[in-house]
Symmetry: C2
């Protein structure tokens, strides 16, 4: 059942991410959720608030992966064009959802205006995605799920749809961090990778107490193989007699 997991891509929409004004806070949350649900996140793209940027990316990603998750661009201002982009990509009209109109009136009363009601417009046939922070829902068309860009709202929307997503084998990871430099062990590490080609072995240098250290990660869907390969990695580090900082299993 190797590589039989569903796949997904993330499309982050927003000028502010590309100008550097804002730092994305959504991708990592989505990535972790997908990993533990057994959905392989294969790619992320970040594009501007422009139909010419969003639509081709959306069409390419939705044809390639089981699911596409978008964030941003579902508010009431002129730069919020995700509904329009998704509708165009799927060749759908846009309708105004009366249940959402009513929800806005119930929550905001006399403050509701035409701008507010832009957030009640969706591509025809959408399944709406509620959240526990605001009235404005996200929406799902076929394999595309469009969430808000505000992290608290995005998380609530994603959490809500998780049980509806096909799940695959969870990826299990074990890691060891030590002061052994990558160059010291990379040939042996590669030999272990070659012995377990269906697992993913990664090496991540960083610094601790101003000294270089390396985290070696073994991950895969077959628990016994992950354990066996990781045992070899740990033995390899122990053989160097170099200090081990942490083992996470």
């Amino acid at each position: 059942m190797i590589n039989s997991n569903p796949t997904c891509a993330v499309l982050l929409i927003g000028d502010e991410l590309l100008s550097g004004r804002t730092e994305d806070a959504n991708l990592n949350y989505i990535a972790k959720k997908m990993t533990s649900h057994g959905v392989d996140l294969k790619e992320c793209r970040i594009v501007a608030d422009e139909l010419d940027a969003i639509i081709p990316a959306l069409n390419e990603l939705r044809a390639k992966y089981t699911y596409v998750f978008t964030t941003g661009g579902i508010g009431p201002t002129h730069d919020d064009i995700t509904v329009e982009a998704v509708a165009y990509a799927f060749g759908l009209d846009i309708y105004r959802d009366e249940s959402v109109v009513k929800a806005f009136h119930d929550r905001k009363g006399g403050l509701v205006n035409e701008n507010t009601l832009k957030m009640a417009d969706f591509p025809v046939g959408s399944t709406l995605i509620p959240n526990n922070v605001s009235v404005a829902p996200g929406f799902n068309v076929e394999n595309v799920y469009s969430f808000a860009g505000i992290p608290s709202i995005m998380r609530s929307m994603l959490d809500g749809v998780m049980p509806t997503l096909e799940s695959g084998a969870e990826v299990i990871s074990k890691s060891i961090t030590s002061f052994a430099g990558e160059s010291r062990i990379s040939d042996q590490f590669e030999a272990i990778q070659n012995a377990y080609p269906h697992l993913s072995l990664g090496s991540y240098p960083s610094t601790q107490d101003d000294k270089w250290c390396t985290t070696l990660v073994v991950s895969g869907k077959e628990e016994a193989d992950v354990a066996a390969a990781f045992g070899k990695v740990v033995a390899m580090i122990q053989d160097t007699k170099i200090e081990i900082i942490e083992i996470v299993e």
Copy 2:
């Protein structure tokens, strides 16, 4: 001279970003540098440590934008394949750079091994990109610049190449944050956008003291127009009599 700025894309390479193990810390730094240098960052992609993922993305981006900046995958382990990917994309062979070999021997002496020397291999014709943290350089082939993934090293490499990049008109931004909700002002805000179609007006909701607030940003390359449009945005917020939190000019 509107829209005459050079353009760029960022390609972040690394399984760890897609599994959620690591949160990217490079895009925002690159984005801010480009904005102040007058280079328009149009797109970012995040792909896995796989040639089949890196090469097509690289070829698409380098054909489309003035510059492409990649991060990650230039170390000594088997999952570091950026040199191979760039060489393949450009149809180049890989050579071992003797000046880098010497630098490794000078720095590391007897600890240098074949793994270390993998970091002295580059596509033929590369311009090497030194950094002030480690011996291992990044490299530049035509319009593609490949940096390390470790943020301290990436920053040093990028800072080093900045003076060699074509620069355009800096994007000037002014912003006002208030407790006015987006729905309250989005029609007037859009009217200001329509009056200044060459500027970019963006609206970003967030929370402060558990209350919703909105930051309205006016940005563009024409200082006088940015000032004029921003004056209208400030007047619009003042008219609401709603509390202003901050004005940044």
